[in-house]
Symmetry: C2
Subunit: 249 residues, 2 copies
């Protein structure tokens, strides 16, 4: 499933994980370590199952991953998406069992750093440790926002929030004031993310479209026509949300 990662984009990808790797820039050593542990994955690959033993921290260099859990009856809940620059520690409280399943939603690359190496790295590179803490805090804040809406929000609020979150995480700008971006998800998967059936995701997105809030074409090419309205429906202030869920360099 994994393949060795040989490409000239190494340092480009790495600089996304480490935008703040210190005044000296990204050292050769750090780059090499990431490159040595880089692996590619393909759309649809399952990298790890819920309950599997895990022994590495994953740093996403390129592509989308989904972290999910399921009930016996086959119901699936996506806990979070990992995008380039994210750091995933799948371990639960025993330190070795993964609490989530990790699946690839696109082709991509990650650096799989065994705990021991990761410890060493963060010790040698305080900037990396600091960045890692901020990324962890961002993840917590994101998940808390989503949990709030999962528990108390309407379908419209959940979908609006999810789209706004994608918009912010992808930091998409195109024409002035018309953010647009692609999300590699089906409506079923979006439903698994926001706790709705695919049918209701469809109805909700259609309503948003009819009301001129957004356009969606070609399997989730999203254009936000009215960001104000979207933020209002999502129940957030976009600027504040950005501060809280995007690691501040």
């Amino acid at each position: 499933m994994f393949a060795e990662y040989h490409s000239s984009e190494k340092s480009a990808a790495l600089s996304r994980v480490l935008p703040a790797a210190g005044p000296r820039g990204i050292s050769q050593t750090l780059q090499d370590t990431f490159a040595r542990h880089a692996v590619t994955f393909r759309d649809g690959n399952t990298l790890i199952l819920e309950g599997d033993e895990c022994e590495s921290i994953y740093c996403v260099l390129d592509g989308w991953l989904a972290l999910s859990k399921s009930l016996d009856e086959g119901q699936n809940q996506i806990i979070d998406f990992a995008l380039p620059g994210d750091i995933i520690d799948p371990a639960s409280a025993d330190g070795v069992t993964s609490s989530v399943m990790i699946e690839a939603l696109t082709d991509g690359t990650l650096a799989a750093l065994p705990y021991r190496n990761w410890e060493r790295l963060t010790k040698d590179w305080p900037e990396l440790a600091r960045m890692s803490h901020l990324i962890e805090a961002a993840k917590r804040a994101r998940r808390a926002e989503r949990m709030l809406r999962l528990g108390k929000g309407t379908a419209e609020m959940r979908v609006a929030y999810a789209l706004l979150e994608f918009c912010i995480r992808l930091d998409s700008v195109c024409e002035p004031d018309i953010p647009s971006f692609h999300v590699p998800l089906t409506q079923q998967q979006l439903g698994d993310y926001v706790g709705l059936s695919s049918v209701h995701v469809c109805r909700t997105m259609r309503r948003l479209t009819r009301n001129g809030v957004l356009e969606s074409s070609d399997h989730m090419d999203i254009r936000i026509l009215d960001s104000q309205a979207l933020a209002r429906l999502a129940g957030v202030d976009s600027e504040r949300l950005k501060r809280e869920i995007i690691p501040q360099i």
Copy 2:
């Protein structure tokens, strides 16, 4: 609101936070640092608001705290409870803004360690850093379990899971096979935790009672009569859940 913490139970409380503080036991230095930063809180106190600036890590020594978020319309979602031994980092991705409100559900005590001190401590005490990572992993696993049920579970499953989680976290045993414990929550608050109205929490708990799964008396004194059934309804294996959400020393 805060009061200085002067009591002879200092080291007893601390040993709950640091059950694995290393072969040498809990050093005097570490004890002193915690004691110096200890503060007491009273039932109903609000320690920090969503959006407040925060500059400390909180280590709960005694009592229950609730971490929650709200929507504009006044809807409240409890993201997690912090119990003795828990470590709370309220910061979001900017490193300074709290992503949650923290309220006291009982009287209690915590050590509020400014980030700078905390960094120093974890550097000097690798065992503390290691334990802190496990506690963080436990928190993630717990929240993921709950998010799964918030998105995909029925009311019965959510309530059953919450009660089982309390049971495991409180590690309560009394008569053989009849775990019993007290939860300092109203049904309204339990509803805010599992994403249900207080009315529906009531109906659901009554059903569990009628079916002989549990007994509840005197404002949430819970006795689990049929743990098997409770675990089945919650959709978990208790042993596995315990491994995944309780920091393994």
